[in-house]
């Protein structure tokens, strides 16, 4: 069932030609991140992903994680693979060197994460959550807590979890009820007793490591109501003694794991805390603000899952389309041909390929902007880059995951009836992809964030700056003599115009008629995604044109890039004006029916 090959050529192209790796490696602290080193890292990471993680993808899905008497067994092979993952040092790629990380830029951890996730999405969630927990602790933890927990989380010996959701508190964390009561005793020092139930806890219990470090949102006894009364705690599965060895089992137990549509190998735990010992991270009542600071990273990571699953689904469909012989060529010929020769199958494969490449380019460019903003010394430049990142995070998250599902669904379609059968593996991608538009904030929440916080609240300053960037690239596109690039140019201009019209609409309505502004939030997010993707594909086409002119050796790759960009603009970017119409005139009918009118029975 092994199909995944890391798309190293495209990754390198995006890193070097679109995201500015070379420039980034000149910034302080990133001297090691040269294109040469990036090459070596990508090469070895791809080897690990394809040889170790990929073979466990299908079997892990079929076997699933199993719960028994509070313990969870991960599928066959996961424990050994996790061991190898830790030994490889992959968990600490972009983490702080002070604690044992390599301190490489996010731009380099991004393709590595993409590969690991493409190879085995369920597996990749465990290190991803650990990374999130580490970042929260770096941000808010006391030196003492960091010393106890961080070294063993950096090297992967202990994993981390995020305990946010409760049965009554999903997207709305103001409703969190888990309690934390201050306590003190001579052996433990100051601590809290945590009681409550948490659900949907990814890798909340497993057999990969000797300890699990839960990060838990809870309320102290006199905390104010709502989001301003939530604090963040560390609750280890096993308590850590003064000498660093493991002590008593904490009362943080796994009551069951969920039966899910996808990501079967990833155990999704129901966690029960009964007077469990916990330690406050940072200050009381600031838990949610710490979570917010980490939210960009988490949402970006899930957006990247969309790219990863799309790439995998595309590769599988492509292999099938080349192999499956069915139906004669439209242009004649007596014999049945591989289905890749049929125009509609081609169209589907091109939709998969072009959207995946566009999403990859946008995600890497945003991740580079995170790095540039963290290292630049000019305050104004930093704020400008940060605002761009903030604007694009909901787009990367919402658009890449929605499109990831679309691509995985096309993957099933390319397989025809065989795609509906589990054995081909195409169905797994669709099932696995389905969670990505839900967790870490649904698409609706991303779109509200985009329309409300990222556009309306700041009067559209950042989005208008971005539109100015699009107008600038229009000038570069204009001087190209390539007819494909000319076609791309007119689509991109229409796309930018569509965004501009919607931004004006949002700014005009968000204050006085919020229902109108938000009714079209998701179509607007999609519009932003395809225009941003079209922007990257246009840049890619311009680079490719130059490479071809300079007689670069890889003519086939660059020619394909231009064609793929052209396809994207005619088949995807062309939807922009329609989406704008939906955003601007579609609101009235969204809110018009009474609740009784919905059902026509």
């Amino acid at each position: 069932m092994s199909v995944y090959v890391a798309p190293l050529k495209d990754m390198r192209f995006v890193l070097n030609e679109l995201a500015g790796l070379d420039e980034l490696s000149k910034l302080p602290g990133y001297q090691d991140a040269t294109p040469d080193t990036a090459n070596a890292i990508l090469q070895e990471a791809s080897k690990f992903a394809t040889e170790v993680l990929d073979p466990l993808n299908y079997s892990g899905d079929q076997e699933g994680s199993k719960w028994r008497d509070g313990a969870v067994t991960t599928p066959t092979g996961f424990k050994a693979a996790y061991q190898l993952y830790c030994e490889g040092g992959w968990s600490a790629l972009s983490l702080d060197p002070e604690w044992g990380g390599q301190g490489l830029p996010k731009l380099l951890s991004t393709p590595v994460s993409e590969m690991m996730t493409s190879a085995n999405m369920s597996f990749s969630l465990c290190p991803m959550l650990t990374q999130g927990a580490i970042e929260a602790m770096l941000l808010s933890g006391s030196e003492q807590l960091k010393k106890v927990f961080l070294p063993r989380m950096f090297d992967g010996r202990w994993t981390g979890t995020m305990n946010l959701t409760e049965p009554q508190a999903g997207s709305d964390l103001a409703l969190v009820r888990t309690k934390a009561v201050p306590a003190s005793d001579p052996t433990l020092g100051d601590h809290y007793r945590i009681s409550g139930q948490k659900i949907f806890i990814t890798f909340g219990e497993h057999d990969l490591t000797e300890n699990i470090v839960h990060l838990v949102l809870a309320r102290t006894p006199d905390a104010p109501e709502g989001v301003k009364g939530i604090s963040l705690f560390i609750v280890p599965k096993f308590l850590v003694q003064a000498d660093g060895s493991l002590g008593a089992r904490n009362q943080a137990t796994c009551a069951s794991i969920e039966h899910k549509l996808g990501i079967h190998a990833s155990p999704t735990a129901v966690m029960v805390f009964e007077n469990a010992i916990g330690y406050l991270l940072g200050e009381e009542n600031k838990g949610l603000s710490y979570m917010f600071i980490m939210m960009n990273a988490a949402r970006f990571a899930v957006g990247l899952e969309g790219v990863s699953i799309a790439e995998r689904a595309f590769q599988r469909a492509l292999a099938y389309a080349k192999d499956r012989v069915q139906g004669r060529d439209l242009l004649g010929g007596a014999k049945a041909v591989p289905i890749i020769r049929h125009p509609d199958v081609r169209r589907m494969l091109m939709l998969m390929k072009s959207q995946t490449e566009a999403m990859r380019a946008l995600a890497y460019v945003v991740s580079a902007a995170v790095d540039f903003s963290s290292r630049t010394e000019k305050t104004e430049e930093r704020q400008r880059l940060q605002a761009f990142v903030d604007l694009m995070i909901p787009v990367v998250k919402g658009w890449s995951t929605e499109t990831g599902i679309e691509v995985a669904s096309l993957g099933v379609q390319v397989h025809g009836g065989m795609g509906f059968i589990e054995e081909t593996g195409a169905a797994q991608h669709l099932r696995d992809a389905r969670i990505t538009t839900i967790y870490e904030g649904t698409t609706g929440i991303q779109a509200n964030d985009l329309v409300g916080r990222k556009i309306a609240r700041e009067g559209g300053v950042t989005v208008k700056e971005w539109l100015a960037v699009l107008r600038k690239i229009d000038l570069d596109l204009a001087i190209s003599g390539n007819s494909d690039i000319q076609a791309i140019r007119s689509r991109l201009a229409a796309g930018a115009q569509a965004v501009s019209v919607c931004v004006d609409f949002i700014l005009a309505t968000a204050g006085k008629d919020p229902n109108a502004a938000f009714a079209g939030a998701v179509p607007f997010l999609k519009l932003m995604g395809i225009v941003a993707g079209g922007w990257q594909m246009a840049r890619a086409a311009l680079v490719a044109e130059k490479k071809i002119a300079s007689n670069d050796a890889d003519q086939l790759f660059y020619a394909a890039k231009i064609t793929t960009a052209r396809f994207f603009s005619d088949h995807v970017l062309s939807q922009a004006p329609g989406l704008a119409a939906t955003v601007v005139s579609g609101a009235a009918a969204v809110m018009a029916l009474t609740e009784d009118q919905f059902l026509s029975a």
């Binding site: 090959v5 190293l8 090691d32 040469d36 080193t37 090459n39 070596a40 890292i41 090469q43 070895e44 080897k47 690990f48 040889e51 170790v52 190898l84 030994e87 490889g88 040092g89 992959w90 600490a92 790629l93 390599q102 050796a553 890889d554 086939l556 790759f557």
Partner: protein, 249 residues
Amino acid sequence: MKVLVSVKRVVDYNVKVRLKADGSGVETANVKMSMNPFDEIALEEAVRLKEAGIATEILAVSCGVLACQETLRTALAIGADRAILVESNEELQPLAVAKLLQSICQKELPQLVILGKQAIDDDANQTGQMLAALLGWPQATFASKLKIADGKAQVTREVDGGLETISIKLPAIVTTDLRLNEPRYVTLPNIMKAKKKPLDNFKPEALGVDVAPRLQTLKVVEPAKRKAGVKLPDAKALVDKLRNEAKVI
């Protein structure tokens, strides 16, 4: 004890090789290249000897174009201590490589040279044997087990009839077979460390070796396509065909 390992940059084993349009050879431009898998096994064995306290230094050597530096960086990341590239744009044939290695061995005086039994591109299976002859050192080819003790190497060889174990005096040449070990995955910290390890660059002339090809490639062609089979009515017809047509029984 110093161990020298030679590594060759070849078309990655996952890549389906294609011919150059003019039939002069295999297309290598814009094709994924990586370390010859047999050489990876050779290097792994050297690293294990070092971890066991038997080897003290591992020197990786590659002969070829400048891009072989990448392969040598991988060797350094796997565990070699330093590397030498003998840089040449010439088509290097086994005898030329053996002579280059001979020259380096005479300077570096390793006790053990481990090579892949063959490279997966030309499958020549000659360099190790030629090097042993040039140096006048004992050789043990196709090793599936290697033990070093008392100035000797005890090597289990994979031969046609099964396994053969021989003992040879060091310094010696060993070439690796597939089952000698399973190479490790390169770790990220070691990739970063490899950047700082020494990598020297020599030209063949500096080593006094004439690398001009002795053999000329006339033409490279794809293997003939397999022809469709035929269905036979019964076993008798099969026996008849095997006897009279294929003449194998």
